[in-house]
Symmetry: C2
Subunit: 141 residues, 2 copies
Amino acid sequence: MGDTTIRPEIQSLIDQVKFDDKGLVPCICQDAATGEVLMFAFMNRESLGITLERGLACYYSRSRGKLWLKGESSGHTQKIKDIRLDCDADCLLIKVEQQGAACHTGYRSCFYRHRDAADTWAPDGEPLFSQNEMDAKYGKK
Amino acid sequence: MGDTTIRPEIQSLIDQVKFDDKGLVPCICQDAATGEVLMFAFMNRESLGITLERGLACYYSRSRGKLWLKGESSGHTQKIKDIRLDCDADCLLIKVEQQGAACHTGYRSCFYRHRDAADTWAPDGEPLFSQNEMDAKYGKK
C-alpha cells in the first residue's frame, strides 16, 4: 500500500492541507447517497495520498500506529465519491459508497447512539451485523 | 454563559464522553434538514454542558482559548435537533437548525471546496453572504 505512486498534482492537493503537530488531519466520512455521517478518523499525508490516488478511503490508525485501508480486513470498503476541504484547510470531508457497515460494532454508522428523552446515550436503530458476524469478518472468530 | 446550571442527568451524559488530553472532544455539525455537513469544531466539558442544557451549539475555540456560543456575534446560531456519540465515545455529531451561514467566509458550509476534475481544491457553489456582509455581522465593518 505504501508503494502507491503519488502524482505531482495529487502532491499539490496534499500540500495545501494543514496537518497538526502529529502530522494528522481529522476526516469526516459521510454516506454519499444518504448523507448519513458514518465515521470519524484521521489521515496522515501518506494515507491521504493513497485515498486520492486509489479512490478508496485510507486512514491512519492512531491506536495501531499504521496505515488503515478501510475494509481491508472486513471487506467493508469505502469508495470515494467526493472529497472536500474546510475553510481553514485543517479538516477533510469524504463522501463515500460504503460496503456493509462502517462501524466495527456492526452498526452502519459509528454514531448509532443519541441522547434520548430520558437523557441517556441510547442506541438508535439496529446493527446490520451481529457482534459474532463482525468478529468473523475480522478473523477473531 | 459559564453560569449555566448543569443538572445531574446532563452531568452523567458528559461523564460518558471521552475527552482528549487537552480536555477536548471533536464535534461534527450537520444540517438536520438536509444532511449537509456544516462545520467541525471542538467542545470541552463546559461547552458540551451548555449545548445540552440550552439546546444551542456551544464550542470551545482553541485559537481564542474560550467558550464560543455559535452565532453570538453573527446571529448565525445552531439549534440542536439531535446529539449523537460515536462507538468509542470520543466524537460527537450534532444535527442542527442553522440560521444563516455556518462558515465565517459566508458559505453555508465550511466544506465549500472540493477536489475537482483538474485536481485543485475548487469552491463548489456560491456563498450566502459576501465577505463585506460577514465582516459587518462580526462588527469588523
